[in-house]
Amino acid sequence: MSKLSAVLAAAKAENRAALIGYLPAGFPTVEGSIAACKAMIDGGVDIVEIGLPYSDPQMDGPVIQQAVQVALDAGVNTLDVLRVVEGVAATGAPTLVMSYWNPIERFGADRFAKQLAAAGGAGTILPDLIPEEADDWIAAADAHALDRVFLVAQTSTPERITLTTGVCRGFVYAASLMGVTGTRDAVSGNAKGLVERTKAATDVPVCVGLGVSNGVQAAEVAGFADGVIVGSAFVRRLLEAPDEASGLAAVRELARELAAGVRSGRR
């Protein structure tokens, strides 16, 4: 069993959802992003997603775009991302890379998989790679024993859910609402339905992302999902902080609130 699967299974054994936190590598700096991820873990995040900064983030809203632009302007590259993975994975928390596909294709799928595994990374989430285009990545991930997370969406047909969950390893990412990343006032009313449709097709854990920003929403999603994914809300804490220390404190505080949320969802 992979480390990622073990952490998800342990959360399940505690009758709670796992908490998954996203932050982009290189924001505010390479070292600062390692510290921020460690603050998330301190606060109770079980699994970390490291964003690979990309010039054309079509699926991201203004908050993540702004943070990623800071990293790109500072020249953060794929090697830096792998350094961040190494620093974060050293804590023992399963650490995934979230990336658009082209940077990985350009780096070389097998080369990236090999270096990610060597850095202690658990796998990848690739939001613009559908299973039909993923042969190279599936082969590379298999060769280096990495988990591979693909996405299902509200608009996915039953056939596509079966296809997608069939190639997922680690967990399935259920994009709970139609839109880009960013916090919402309310969790999509259809999130539960999507999780149920996905669970009907697979035994792989199903984690929900897009729109969750506070403990109440985390508790709500934890009532029906195996994991709750939070990204923009963490990034916003860093963007709004007047200095690095208060940013880390705010990230830790949010992680605590969310961690309490995922533990209260099934009571």
Partner: protein, 418 residues
């Protein structure tokens, strides 16, 4: 033959529902093309593919599109013998006059087709991206006649250099959203349009402006632009009894070029030339020549030639022409390049502007700066073709748009007061 027989309704219909080679069902041209898009859009892409496959072979749809092309868009467009330019070039040059279409460019062909598709799909809102503004103006126009809500995304830098087209779109009732992220040009406008689409896909159709992007857009846009080459081929046969030795078009995303090329692909004697925006020269790094100065990667949903750094980050493109200022190209052009069927060369800003001025003064035609790249390319290839063939070569140049929108840029370039 008269226009009436050459350009029968059946002639138009055959240009949409042509039998020639298509990509595989997932949109691949060999290793190129495909669908690199979020899962959330897969249902919409499948819906669009199905609606398109049904419509293109449906006589009612064909008749409707033909009606609009004939009575509204000004098709067939003229093929003009450019006598003074020909004398200058040492080649017989004929201009395919897409500049005379309603809205001033070839973009109306694609947009009328896609807007009719939108209506068939029951969607009430369209979004579009635009660089020079020509696709945006065409989209705003189609939205007006078919009573659709229209939002056009345009890079902030482009809204400044193409202010006239921004005003035209707003006059036509469209909302123009300046995009201030990234490089503030066409690629960022596409990113923003994709963000809109994934959020509003239930009631919104994306009128993609060039033969690029995820499947089925390269096929749809190609098929609606294809009338350019189909007409030009028939017009030249009518005029000379023969085929051209070469056809030439500018290539940004590549819709006017694929529209001209496609009917000639099976004609092995016809050379296909695509002229990319060479900016300050490919060697300077300041250009938009994705094929001649880029490498294969994935951008905006397809695997194709793109401008990227060693880590796969998209590099900014540079061109005096906003409509060619894009760091990617449609996958079918990438494939025509890989197979050697078409030849792609860069044309610099300076070469394009020389040709712009020459066309103004020899033919009384002010071309779009985009189209001036094709004219410059034809002037470049003429001597070698003449030597190879041992006679005056016949070259069709696609005049993809008119230059009204470029007056400020051109005046500044030539140091004139406006």
């Amino acid at each position: 033959m008269t226009d009436a027989t050459v350009f029968s309704d059946a002639f138009f219909a055959a240009s949409y529902a042509h039998p020639s080679a298509q990509p595989d069902p997932a949109g691949h041209y060999g290793r190129l093309g495909g669908r690199f898009m979020p899962e959330a859009l897969m249902a919409a892409l499948a819906e669009l593919t199905e609606a398109y496959q049904k419509s293109k072979n449906d006589p009612e749809f064909q008749a409707e599109l033909t009606h609009w092309l004939r009575t509204y868009a000004n098709r067939p467009s003229l093929l003009t013998e450019a006598k003074r330019l020909s004398a200058h070039a040492g080649a017989r040059i004929l201009l395919k006059r897409e500049d005379l279409n309603h809205t001033g460019s070839h973009k109306i062909n694609n947009v009328l087709g896609q807007a009719l598709l939108t209506r068939r799909m029951g969607k009430k809102r369209v979004i579009a991206e635009t660089g020079a503004g020509q696709h945006g103006v065409a989209s705003a126009t189609a939205a007006a006649i078919f009573d659709l809500e229209c939002v056009v995304y345009m890079g902030e830098e482009d809204t400044e250099r193409q202010a006239l087209n921004v005003a035209r779109m707003r006059m036509l009732g469209a909302e123009v959203v300046p995009v201030a992220t990234g490089s503030r040009t066409l690629k960022d406008a596409i990113n923003e349009a994709i963000r809109d689409w994934v959020t509003n896909v239930e009631h919104t159709n994306y009128l993609f402006g060039t033969a690029a992007g995820p499947h089925p857009f390269p096929s749809i846009v190609r098929d609606f632009a294809r009338i350019i080459g189909v007409e030009a081929r028939a017009q030249l046969l009518d005029l000379t009894g023969g085929l051209p030795d070469a056809v030439a078009a500018c290539v940004g995303g590549g819709s006017n070029a694929i529209g001209l090329f496609h009917a000639f692909v099976p004609d092995e004697s016809v050379r296909l030339y695509g002229f990319e925006a060479g900016g300050s020269g490919v060697e300077s790094g300041l250009h938009a020549a994705s094929i001649t100065g880029g490498a294969v990667g994935v951008l905006h949903g397809a695997r194709t030639y793109i401008l990227q750094d060693e880590y796969g980050q998209t590099l900014p493109s540079h061109s005096i022409s906003a409509g060619l200022d894009y760091p990617g190209v449609g996958p079918e052009h990438a494939w025509l390049h890989d197979t050697g069927r078409a030849v792609y060369e860069p044309v610099t800003d300076a070469e394009a502007m020389d040709a712009f001025q020459l066309l103004c003064r020899t033919e009384g035609i002010i071309p779009a700066i985009e189209s001036a790249h094709a004219v410059a390319g034809a002037l470049r290839i003429a001597p070698a073709l003449r030597e190879e063939l041992g006679r005056e070569p016949v070259i069709i140049v696609n005049l993809s748009g008119r230059g009204d929108k470029d007056m400020h840029t051109a005046a500044a370039y030539f140091g004139m007061e406006v």
